[in-house]
């Protein structure tokens, strides 16, 4: 057991997979010599050399295209897109090519690749470097989507993503990079599509993801203390595949479900989760299904504004307390 930051867990997870499988390679802007702008790839060039760890030009289409072409011909590339906002410049490659090609080809080829990116807010980077785009990728058939919330999950889910035979979008909550957590020694693996109950509870369930998980947990503590509400916190960990069973199970046990989404409101993953509950969990509902999200605006840059825009512990707890009143 060691204490590791979420940031260092990325490098450790990558190293674990690079050691295990010669076919794993890493490309991206400033990932090699510089060790990544978030230092999430520090040390990899030294250990694995320039054949496997490569700096690219500022060419996101080329990065994603290269990963795709390499994946269909025998490699297992990991491509870093520095900020997930930049998915915009490579969106055709992600949403139309990587996502659809296996299906269109009737399964003739596989695309075992991972696209990693720093995702979401909290660093006062402004609207073009802070957006949570988890729902952008979730909306695209053919992409798997993973968002770890702890250092241990970073390693385990990254391993699962690299070993997965399909394209996986691996979103690193950049607000969590400095956060430390317990990480066991030795190889860590995990499975995609399994949610984890971070806190058991009986009165309601808060479904959260990535940066929102620690906030949901803190809100649950506050609800227990101040309102006598015993909230369960379910960390989805992956959006595709989605652990619908865990969601419906928690709803059935508690009767009330809340989602906490970092993304702007419209068409967020929480809407999908809620729509599943409103159909399949209808008979379990003891009250409204409520979504707590960033307002439907780009993220403002000023610290005070950003803090107020993202779901905060207080907003989560207050919304739930009011709704359960």
């Amino acid at each position: 057991m060691a204490q590791l930051t979420y940031r260092d867990a990325v490098a450790r997870g990558l190293a674990q997979e690079l050691r295990r499988d010669e076919r794993v390679v890493l490309i991206g802007e400033d990932v090699a010599a510089a060790g990544g702008v978030f230092k999430t790839t520090a040390g990899l060039l030294d250990e694995f050399g320039p054949r496997r760890i490569r700096d690219t030009p500022i060419s996101e289409q080329a990065i994603l295209g290269a990963a795709m072409g390499a994946a269909m011909t025998g490699l297992r590339p990991v491509a870093e897109i520095m900020f997930s906002d930049f998915f915009g410049v490579g969106w055709d490659l992600l949403a139309n090519q990587i996502a659809k090609t296996r299906y269109m080809a009737g399964g003739q080829l596989s695309l075992p690749l991972v696209v990693r990116a720093a995702n979401g807010g909290g660093l006062r980077f402004g609207a073009q470097h802070s957006q949570d785009v988890a729902n952008w990728v979730m909306a695209v058939p053919g992409l798997k989507v993973v968002v770890p919330s702890t250092p241990r999950d970073v390693i385990g889910l990254l391993a699962a993503a690299v070993r997965d035979p399909d394209p996986v979008i691996f979103l690193e909550a950049k607000g969590l990079y400095p956060v430390r957590g317990e990480v066991p020694d030795g190889e860590i693996t995990d499975t995609l599509g399994s949610a984890v109950v971070r806190r058991a509870g009986q009165d309601c369930v808060i479904v959260a993801l990535g940066l929102m998980v620690p906030r949901a947990l803190a809100a649950a503590e506050r609800l227990a203390r101040d309102n006598g509400i015993d909230a369960e916190v379910l960390d989805l960990r992956s959006l595709v595949p989605l652990d619908v069973r865990a969601v419906l199970d928690a709803l059935e046990r508690t009767g009330r479900l809340f989602t906490v989404e970092e993304n702007p409101r419209l068409c967020g993953w929480g809407a999908e989760v809620v729509s599943i509950c409103a159909e399949e969990g209808f008979t379990s509902l003891d009250g409204p299904l409520v979504r707590i999200t960033t307002p439907h605006v780009p993220l403002p840059a000023a610290d005070s504004l950003e803090d107020a825009a993202l779901p905060s512990v207080d907003r989560i707890a207050d919304t739930i307390a009011k709704s359960m009143d």
């Binding site: 290269a66 011909t73 055709d92 139309n96 080809a105 009737g106 989605l242």
Partner: protein, 321 residues
């Protein structure tokens, strides 16, 4: 070799004409983009490729797919949305793929496959296999961002990839000169990637073949990428819906006079190949096309279960438990 080039061109022509007939008969339901008139490019390049080389094509990829060895029946069946289509009807005419023949896909969004081809070449380079990737695209594609990114990456990483611009003078309906800052959309930009300027007569199958040979040897021996512009012309419209009437009559006639098939036929005859051999090739292609058509027409409607199949490598499409 020569006769082989002719045979391929004849097969392509026969298949594309048949595809057009099938469209007129209402059997090709979606769109389709024929390369009638551009056969020399597909034939010349395919002839220099190793079986394990990679081809990346556009929606105008029927001939390239055939040239790599995919069965004509499966191609026509795919155009007709049949279960015996190359991709069981799931892809359609714009996405012909046959990985067992090195045909790594036909891509329908302009420019996308240029970086993908770079990726396949990068993989070959890394795996040390001496495979080469070839990527065909149109003149109009030289104006999209992905072209620029792919060429730069290929040059910087010295990838074994050959980029072939089939300049058929038009994007869909707009003459390429109206929207391009240089005369030759690809060749005039080679220098921007430190590459040699290469232009070839894309209707002269032997010239194409020679050019391809040079580029492939260079790529295979670690010499890096090439960018080749092949001048050619599509005899028909952009896609099945287009009669191509925006093109000046004289221009069309001039290019029809340069049709690569009769030109090469005449050359072969002049070189002493006898008429029977050529007629035999033509007859065989006609028979192949008839048989392929029948097999395609007899093909079943795809099973509906295919809709939720093969999104993932496990064969399914589940997004939830």
């Amino acid at each position: 070799m020569d006769v082989e080039l002719y045979r391929q061109m004849v097969r392509m022509r026969a298949m594309e004409k048949r595809a057009y007939d099938l469209f007129l008969r209402g059997l090709v339901k979606g769109t389709s983009h024929l390369s009638t008139g551009q056969e020399a490019v597909a034939a010349g390049f395919a002839a220099v490729m190793r079986p394990d080389d990679y081809t990346f094509a556009t929606y105008r990829g029927h001939a390239h797919t055939l040239a790599r060895g995919a069965p004509m029946a499966a191609i026509l069946a795919e155009l007709m949305g049949r279960g015996n289509g190359l991709m069981s009807g799931k892809g359609g005419s714009m996405h012909l793929t046959s990985t067992e023949h090195g045909m790594m896909g036909s891509y329908a969004i302009v420019g996308a496959h240029l970086p993908i081809a770079a990726g396949a070449a990068w993989s070959a380079q890394l795996r040390g296999t001496e495979q080469v990737a070839v990527c065909f695209f149109g003149d109009g594609t030289a104006n999209i961002g992905a072209f620029h990114e792919a060429l730069n990456l290929a040059a910087v990483w010295q990838l074994p990839v050959v980029y072939v611009c089939e300049n058929n003078q038009y994007m869909e309906y707009t003459p390429i000169a109206d929207v391009t800052a240089v005369e030759r959309p690809a060749a005039d930009r080679a220098a921007a990637y430190g590459l040699e300027r290469i232009v070839v007569d894309g209707n002269d199958v032997e010239a194409v073949y020679e050019t391809a040979l040079t580029a492939f040897s260079k790529a295979r021996t670690g010499g890096g990428p090439s960018l080749i512009e092949a001048d050619t012309y599509r005899h028909g419209g952009h896609s099945r819906a287009d009669p191509g009437t925006y093109r000046p009559q004289q221009e069309v006639e001039d290019w029809l006079a340069r049709d690569p098939l009769p030109a090469y036929r005449a050359k072969l005859l002049a070189a002493g190949i006898d008429e029977e051999t050529l007629a035999g090739i033509e007859d065989a292609a006609a028979r192949e096309t008839d048989e392929a058509t029948k097999a395609a027409e007899d093909g079943p409607v795809p099973e509906l279960a295919l809709i939720e199949r093969d999104l993932w490598a496990d064969g399914g499409a589940a997004w939830r438990n």
